[in-house]
């Protein structure tokens, strides 16, 4: 089923500052409209770029992973209610065109489908997790060998627990003798899902607000859509906020790629590629201000994941002492993974700028980091447990990624270098 759903999507080249970008964002959206929905995008399962063979004489021995839950239903109804209530109001004053009536009908189908499922993992979300787990066993059979240990941790959010369970069950299908433990505890939330309230409260500084407002000013409205849906767009403006309506209706349409309604693209097709693209720009800028190293608010937002980075290093330090550490899988959220990627600087996502217009040209494309089921995997290599020169490579969404440090064996990096780089970065933050 899902081979069909991704049929037609060309594979997406990695969006790195260091690689030549052959496709523009608008190309990507034309091929796969859900790319415009940023964190609601579906996992790019069509990527088949082969991985570089293991470095000479070394073998993978440890996997450290942080992944987002798979495709889910939308977390709460407020996003859907916005266009829905506006449509109901317009309908009750008889201001919907025939197209408008069809749109309302489609919205009602979606609302009914989502009822009692807010935030729950979808079956497509499970399939994403299964495929990622299956590929992990294929790519790294040396790590996930018979009897290997797998420690899986999830946040306490049900969709993450279910993602963990799905992934683990698939690992066991491929390798039944794995020794797996699962945990979903409030005890690990301090690093698995740390939301830094102080940072979060302060991301929209007056400078950021000014720049953001200026950036989105020309991108928000959609009078073409209003004229298509409402009989008297000018009158209906009294009860329908054009910008909100456009934004949330688009989100609602694009979101269905995650559910079993994915074949029904009626709402999605209401929007022209150019309109989807504009909305992507708006969201991309906002995600950058919220979680990127944006100079407009001091560039400290990615530090929200300092605990996770410390824990990743501590876990690796500990696991490197073992003969067969196996794998550590962590299941969490995109609002953790995005700042983590920015904090480490994977693929140049530590980009620091105060010019929102630069983001796109310089390759800061959030949709390439955190679609549903997005993941970062650190794969560790050594020749034997005594080997002091441990290497690692980073996979972002299963694609080899770059780190902002020097190496003589790309895409591999020396663990000692990476560790020092991270520790220096963490200590320079001057906060714990």
């Amino acid at each position: 089923m899902n081979n069909n759903r991704i049929l037609g999507f060309l594979f997406i080249l990695h969006t790195s500052l260091f690689t030549l970008q052959s496709q523009t964002v608008i190309d990507l959206i034309r091929e796969k409209p859900s790319y415009a929905s940023c964190n609601y995008d579906i996992y790019p399962d069509s990527i088949t770029k082969p991985l570089t063979p293991s470095p000479a004489g070394k073998r993978p021995f440890y996997i450290s992973h942080y992944g987002r839950h798979g495709s889910r239903y939308i977390s709460n109804r407020s996003g859907y209610d916005t266009p829905y209530l506006m449509m109901l109001h317009a309908d009750s004053v008889d201001d919907l065109t025939p197209i408008g009536k069809r749109v309302l009908h489609e919205i009602q189908i979606i609302m009914a489908d989502t009822e009692n499922r807010w935030g729950e993992l979808t079956s497509y979300g499970k399939e994403q997790q299964r495929k990622i787990a299956r590929r992990m066993t294929k790519n790294f059979p040396e790590v996930l060998c018979p009897g290997a240990r797998v420690k899986a941790i999830s946040t306490v959010v049900p969709r993450c627990i279910e993602s963990m369970g799905t992934a683990v069950m698939e690992l066991l299908q491929a390798q039944p003798t794995l020794q797996v433990t699962m945990e979903a505890s409030k005890r690990t939330m301090w690093y698995m899902n740390h939301q830094d309230n102080k940072l979060r409260r302060n991301y929209m500084t007056p400078e950021a607000r000014k720049a953001y407002d200026a950036y989105i000013a020309s991108r928000m409205g959609n009078s073409r859509l209003m004229a298509e849906i409402f009989k008297n767009p000018d009158i209906v403006k009294e009860i329908v906020d054009e910008e909100d309506f456009n934004y949330y209706l688009m989100k609602m349409g694009l979101f269905q790629a995650n559910t079993h309604l994915w074949l029904n693209t009626y709402l999605q097709n209401l929007f022209e590629t150019e309109e989807l693209y504009r909305m992507w720009q708006v969201d991309n800028a906002l995600w950058y201000i919220q979680h990127g190293a944006c100079k407009l608010n001091g560039g400290r937002q990615p530090t929200s994941q300092r605990y996770l980075l410390r824990q990743l290093i501590a876990d690796a330090d500990s696991c490197l002492q073992l003969e067969k550490p196996g794998a550590q899988l962590r299941f969490g959220h995109e609002t953790v993974l995005l700042p983590l990627v920015c904090l480490i600087g994977i693929n140049g996502y530590d980009l620091a700028t105060d010019n929102l217009d630069e983001l796109e040209a310089r390759g800061w494309w959030c949709s390439s980091i955190f679609p549903m089921a997005c993941n970062v995997q650190f794969i560790f290599y050594r020749s034997s447990p005594k080997d002091k020169d441990v290497l690692l490579k980073v996979l972002l969404n299963e694609q080899e990624a770059t780190l902002p440090i020097a190496t003589d064996c790309a895409p591999y990096y020396h663990w000692a270098d990476f560790r020092r780089y991270c520790m220096d970065k963490l200590s320079a933050l001057n906060i714990f």
């Binding site: 049900p158 279910e162 069950m169 299908q173 699962m182 979903a184 505890s185 409030k186 005890r187």
Partner: protein, 435 residues
């Protein structure tokens, strides 16, 4: 009449305290009631008559061992001891108990309501045992689904069980899900019924029963050195209950075997606490006639779904299993509604529960389950047999049979459907409603 019935019941119960007494003696953890972690023990399996094969398993399960849900369960009793300690009101034993409470609260900190490591192992062991007992139902073409209510310890119990199954069979067709959508037959609500649970008459009986089974003075004297302080500052009944609950909860944690709290209670006190809690469960989920005896019907949609599924699965070629993970309270009411073993008992005499065999730790312990297994010789077999594994053992159903513990599906189905319809007739019949 009530005044006469109570003392009689007490005498009667004391004369035959036997089974519950023996069971509590052999494993005092049973006193934890629905928080008793059911051990995975070897069970007897009667051969299936006529060479029939299992083709459908309908499995309802409680969560496995988990930490108490409310942080107050751990913090409140400790706070009482800490305060008394600061005023020098603790005895030597009191100090020691405070230390143990501290260990318990630290162990449970940031884990309340979560599946314990022991619970994870229990869930896997239970699934392993099920697969080993019914190997014919776990084949390559089979289909295995699991559903859980949206409650983390239930979800994890399910994930652990299915993980075990995944390790035991490859390839495996399965579907695992936790959703609010299935609430209707996993944890149904019925306000009209539950509103009647604790009416004033019922509470009058229960309060009297509670009074007759409460004696906390000895315990308080052993823990606190100043009884004036106790009287003025401590709700002894609540503290005693909290300590009892924690005593029963240690078994789920890694502290089991290292510390205990049972030792601060006498055998009789443990018995009293258990009796009160068992009676409360009976009033809420059993056929207690004080509140009308209808509370088990709260699970009528669960039972109806069970019957519906039993019929629907007859058309399948390959085996199928439905696993459902839900609250202990659902299981208490469901077992009572199905009248498994002695669960159907209907009485107004709370003292008679022990002799009647209605004991919560036997009905819905953690890891407990009701598993209905359907057998047939071929796809068109008109005489489908069913057997119910109730917490692992072959259960007695309230239906005649010539091949116990196997029952003819048609008989079982007719019995339960008629029971459900009789009740619904009283609830939804227009004439009855008018009365």
């Amino acid at each position: 009449m009530i005044a006469i019935a109570l003392p009689c019941g007490t005498v009667n119960a004391q004369a035959q305290t036997d089974i519950v007494g023996k069971e509590l003696k052999s494993d005092v953890n049973r006193a934890a009631g629905i928080y008793y972690a059911m051990p995975v023990t070897k069970q007897k399996d009667t051969a299936v008559p006529g060479g029939k094969k299992p083709f459908y398993i309908n499995h309802y399960s409680c969560p496995s061992s988990y930490y108490l849900t409310n942080p107050k369960d751990y913090e409140a009793p400790y706070a009482i001891f800490a305060r008394a300690d600061s005023l020098g009101k603790l005895t030597k034993l009191g100090h020691d108990v405070m230390h143990r409470l501290d260990l318990l609260r630290q162990e449970a900190k940031d884990r309340t309501g979560e599946l314990t490591a022991k619970g994870a192992r229990q869930s896997r062991e239970l699934m392993r045992q099920l697969v080993e007992r019914i190997p014919d139902a776990f084949v390559e073409k089979g289909y295995y689904t699991a559903r859980s209510i949206v409650q983390n310890h239930c979800i994890l119990t399910m994930e652990e069980a299915m993980t075990q199954l995944s390790a035991m069979r490859q390839p495996l067709q399965m579907s695992v899900r936790s959703s609010h959508q299935e609430q209707a037959f996993m944890n149904p609500q019925d306000k009209l019924l539950t509103d009647h649970r604790t009416d004033s008459l019922t509470m009058a009986h229960f309060n009297r029963f509670t009074d007759l089974n409460t004696s906390d003075a000895r315990l308080m004297e052993s823990l606190f050195n100043d009884q004036h302080y106790v009287i003025a500052n401590i709700d002894t009944e609540t503290l005693s209950r909290q300590l009892f609950r924690l005593a029963g909860n240690i078994q789920h944690t890694e502290l089991a075997g290292k510390i205990k709290l049972w030792d601060i209670f006498t055998t009789e006190e443990i018995r009293h606490h258990w009796r009160k809690q068992n009676a409360w469960h009976y009033i809420n989920y059993g056929g207690c006639t004080l509140n009308g005896g209808k509370q088990p019907f709260l699970q009528r949609s669960t039972l109806r779904n069970m019957i519906h599924m039993g019929d629907s699965m007859m058309n399948r070629y390959a085996p199928l299993m439905h696993n459902r993970y839900t609250h202990e309270s659902v299981m208490l009411a469901l077992a009572s509604l199905m009248e498994l073993d002695n669960c159907g008992v209907q009485t107004s005499n709370l003292d008679s529960l022990e002799t009647a065999g209605w004991a919560d730790y036997r009905i819905a312990p953690l890891g407990g389950s009701i598993v209905m297994i359907h057998y047939r010789s071929e796809r068109n077999d008109p005489d489908v047999l069913v057997k119910v594994l109730f917490n692992g053992h072959e259960a007695r159903l309230p239906v005649e049979t010539d091949c116990a513990p196997y029952y003819h599906w048609q008989d079982v189905k007719n019995y339960y459907l008629r029971k459900l319809y009789r009740y619904e007739n009283t609830r939804f019949n227009r004439k009855n409603r008018r009365r």
